[in-house]
């Protein structure tokens, strides 16, 4: 009954961790999830979020078992 969280690249290094878990609950959005996990750290500007490996808005409601990712702007290619 949890949500799995992943961090990538510079954000992962700033946070000092690559993964987290958090209990799922009703009405929890992506933005809420960040605030619960990092109450003293506003989400860095330009941070992107994905839910279940697809880009998602910060207002997206989360469900049990979701995989949420936070990461900086992409720089591939």
């Amino acid at each position: 009954m949890t949500i799995k969280i992943k961090y990538f690249a510079s954000l992962r290094e700033q946070l000092g961790r690559a993964e987290d878990e958090y209990p799922a609950g009703p009405g929890l959005t992506v933005a809420d999830l960040w605030t619960r996990l990092w109450p003293d750290r506003p989400l860095p500007p330009n941070t992107l979020a994905a839910v279940n490996q697809e880009y998602a808005d910060l207002g997206r409601l989360l469900a049990d078992g979701d995989e949420v990712a936070f990461f900086p702007p992409v720089t591939g290619g």
Binding site: A9, A50, Q53, T75, G76, G77
Partner: protein, 147 residues
């Protein structure tokens, strides 16, 4: 279409030739092949660079690439597409990405190849960390420049 991530160096032109050899049912149907190869340079933003590490998001990276290639195939009526992208440690002058598309006419091939590269640059979850020659330190590349 084929999408591949590689964690070791690859030869884009050999890959392209091999893939095209397999397109037997398209023989005589495509009049245009457009391709793009991105190669690691030994400088970036005015500084000498001696190495790079490409991080990605296993699972999402492949899905996002598949989506953006499918969009280009659909939009431009392309016959086929091949994308190969490196992950892991890369040295200067090594290929980073290959995009190749096949179509009946040239406009679709040019447009489709370019759209795939632009979408890949702006959407596919890859992150470059480059090592500078002078300070022997590494830095994350902040963002891709628009094409």
């Amino acid at each position: 279409m084929r999408i591949e991530l590689r964690d070791t160096p690859f030869e884009p032109l050999a890959e392209l030739a091999r893939y095209q050899d397999g397109l037997a049912t398209l023989r005589g149907r495509y009049g245009a092949t457009a391709c793009f190869i991105g190669t690691m340079r030994d400088f970036n933003e005015g500084e000498a660079v001696c190495g790079m590490y490409l991080e990605h998001y296993p699972g999402m990276t492949e899905r996002e690439l598949e989506k953006l290639v499918a969009e280009a195939l659909e939009r431009y009526g392309l016959l086929e597409a091949l994308v190969i992208h490196r992950v892991g440690a890369i040295e200067p002058n090594q290929p980073i990405v290959l995009v190749a598309v096949w179509s009946a006419h040239r406009a679709a091939a040019f447009d489709g190849c370019r759209q795939i590269m632009e979408e890949l640059k702006s959407r596919a979850p890859f992150w470059k960390r480059e090592t500078l020659v002078e300070t022997e330190t590494s830095r994350w590349v902040a963002r891709n420049t628009p094409g």
